[in-house]
Amino acid sequence: MEVLASHGFILLALACVFGLFMAWGIGANDVANAMGTSVGSRALTLKQAILVAAVFEFAGAYLAGGEVTSTIRKGIIDPAVLTDTPELLVFGMLSALLAAATWLLIASMRGWPVSTTHSIVGAIVGFAAVGISVEAVAWGKVGTIAASWVVSPLLAGSMSFALFISVKNLILDHENTFERARQYVPVYMWMVGFMISMVTLLKGLKHIGVDFDLGMGSKFTNAMVVSAAVGLVVAFLGSVLLRRIKVDGDINSVDNVEKVFGILMIFTACGMAFAHGSNDVANAVGPVAAVVSTVQSGGIIGAKSAMPWWVLGIGAAGIVVGLATYGWRVIQTIGRKITELTPSRGFAAELAAASTVVLASATGLPISTTHTLVGAVLGVGLARGVEALHLPTVGAIITSWVVTLPAGAGLAVIFFYVLSAIFG
C-alpha cells in the first residue's frame, strides 16, 4: 500500500512509457498487416493508406476500444484475490507490458510472425499464475479468450468464403460484369458503414457523453436504425465515386471490373483500420489503465471509477506515431509483396476480417487481427479466389502463437520479480 503512495508517480510514468512503447510497436508492425492488403492491390497509395490508418485506427481505438481494454485491465485477473496487495497488480501489469514489448522486439528481429495480443495475454496470465497464485487467474475468461483465437480465423474464413462466392455468383460469372459490379458493390459498402456505425453506437458513444434515443424500444434497435441510415450514406458516397471510374478498352475486362472493387477496397480499408484500432489498442492500453486506476484510487482494485479515457488517447497516439515513424515502411514492403490479392479478393478478406474483429471488440475479446486476416485470406483461397497459398507459413503462424504464450509468460515472471525487488 505504501509503495503506491510513495512511488505512485514513478509507477504511473513507467506505465505510460511502457504503454507508449507497446503502442508504438503495434503501429510500427501490426498495422502493416491490416493496411498492406489495400496497398498491395493498389486500391490505396502508400500516403493514402497511412492517412486512412491514422484516422481510423485512432477512431477505432477511441470509440470502440473500451471493451477489450477492460478485459485486459480486469478480466484476466481475478481482482478479489488481490484486494490486500494492490501493488502486485501494478508490478504485474508493468512487467506484462515490458515482457510483451520485449518479446515482440525479439520476434520481429528474428522474423517470427507473432501476435501482440497473444504476447500480452500470455504475459498477464504468466505473472498472475506464477508471481501471485494460480487462483489469481480468471481461467474461465482465459479459456474463452483462447477459444476465440481459434474461432476468429475460422469465422473470418467462412465469411470471406461466403463474400467471395457471392461476388462470383452476383458479378464475375455474368456477361455484363462491369455494370453488375457497379450495381452490387454499394451493398458491400453499406455493410462496412453499418458495421462501424453499430459498434460505435453500441460501445463508443457512452464515454464521449453522447446519448441518443429514437424511442425504438431497446438500445440495439435504435442503433440498428441509425446504422442502416449511416450505411446508406456510405453506399451513396461510394456510388458517386463509382460513377467517376474511367474505363479503358473492353468495359467488362478484368482490369476495369477490378477498378470498381478498388473503390470498394478504400471503404473496407477504413473498416479494417477501425477494427484493428478497436481491438489492438487494448494490448497497450489495458495494462496502463489497470495501473492508472489502481494508483489513482489509492489501491482499490477494480474500483468503480470509470476507466480514464485519456489512456485510450495515449494508445491511439502511440499507434499513429509508430505508423508514421516505422510502420509505413512495413506497409510498403507488404504492399509490394501481395499484389496477388486483387481488389475483388482483397475486399472480401478485409471485410470478413474487419467484421470478425469488430465483433470481438464489441464483446471484449482480445483477438489477433493478423491471424483473423490470414484466416480470411485462406477463406478466399478456398473459394478459388487466390492461385497459391503457402501453407508452411500458416504452420509457422500457428507454431509462433503456441510459442508466444510461454515466452511472454516467462519474461513477465522475470520482470515481475525484478520490479518487486526494486520497489517492494
Partner: protein, 226 residues
C-alpha cells in the same frame, strides 16, 4: 529491425502467370522456325546459323523459366489448380521449344534444305504449325484470365472455343504433312538416301510441334474445367 509480415508470406506468387511467361518464351522459339527455313531454303547458311543460335538461346530462356516453375511449386503450396496438371502443362510447353531447337539443329548440321519444288507447301506447313502454337499459348493466357475471374462459367466457354481451334489447326497441319511426304517421295530420286531420311525426319518433327501445341491446349482445358 527485420519484420516478417505474416500476411505477405501466406500469399505465394501466382503459378499461372509464370506458366504464361514460359508459354510465351516457347512460342518465341517456334516463331523463329519460319525465318530459319526461309534462310535455309535460300541457301543463306550464315543467316540460318544466326537464327539457329537465336532459337537455342530462346530455348535456354524457356528452360530457365521451366526450372523456376518447378522451384516455385513446393509441396506446401495450396493452389486453386492441381500441381500435377501445372507440371504437365509446363512439360508440354517446353517440348514445343525443344522440338524447334532439334529441327533447326538437324537441318543446320547437315546443311539440309528441302527440294525447291516443296518450298511453298513447306512454308505453309510451318506457318500452320506456328499458328497452332500461337493459339495454344492463347489458351494458356485465357486460363490465367480465367483464374483472375475466379473460374467463372463465361471464361470456361472462351477456353473451350479456343481449344477447338487448336485441334482444327492441328488436323490441318497433319493433312499438310502427309501431302508434303507424298511430294517428297516423288523427289526421292534426286536426293541422296541419307538426306531423304533426314528430310522425312524433319517433317515428322515439325508436325510434332503442332501435336505438342494440341496437348498444351488440352492440359490447359483440364485445368480450366477442374
Amino acid at each position: 529491425m527485420a519484420v516478417k509480415p505474416a500476411l505477405s508470406d501466406v500469399l505465394s506468387s501466382s503459378p499461372l502467370s509464370i506458366m504464361e511467361r514460359h508459354a510465351e518464351a516457347c512460342l518465341s522459339c517456334v516463331a523463329r522456325l519460319g525465318p530459319y527455313f526461309e534462310a535455309a531454303q535460300g541457301g543463306h547458311w550464315g543467316k540460318a546459323e544466326k537464327l539457329q543460335l537465336e532459337i537455342a538461346r530462346l530455348e535456354g530462356i524457356a528452360d530457365e523459366i521451366k526450372l523456376d516453375v518447378r522451384k516455385n511449386l513446393p509441396r506446401g503450396l495450396w493452389m486453386s489448380v492441381s500441381r500435377p496438371d501445372l507440371l504437365e502443362l509446363v512439360r508440354m510447353q517446353d517440348k514445343m521449344a525443344n522440338e524447334t531447337k532439334d529441327i533447326a539443329g538437324i537441318s543446320l548440321g547437315r546443311q539440309l534444305a528441302f527440294p525447291s519444288k516443296l518450298e511453298k507447301s513447306l512454308f505453309k506447313f510451318i506457318a500452320t504449325v506456328t499458328e497452332a502454337a500461337e493459339k495454344a499459348v492463347e489458351v494458356v493466357s485465357a486460363t490465367r484470365e480465367l483464374s483472375r475471374s475466379a473460374f467463372g462459367a463465361r471464361q470456361v466457354t472462351v477456353i473451350m472455343t479456343k481449344s477447338v481451334t487448336v485441334e482444327k489447326i492441328e488436323r490441318r497441319s497433319d493433312e499438310l504433312q502427309s501431302k508434303l511426304r507424298a511430294k517428297l517421295r516423288q523427289h526421292e530420286e534426286t536426293i541422296s538416301p541419307v538426306d531423304a531420311i533426314f528430310l522425312y525426319q524433319l517433317l515428322t518433327n515439325i508436325g510434332e510441334i503442332a501435336d505438342h501445341a494440341e496437348k498444351v491446349s488440352h492440359r490447359a482445358q483440364i485445368i480450366a474445367a477442374s
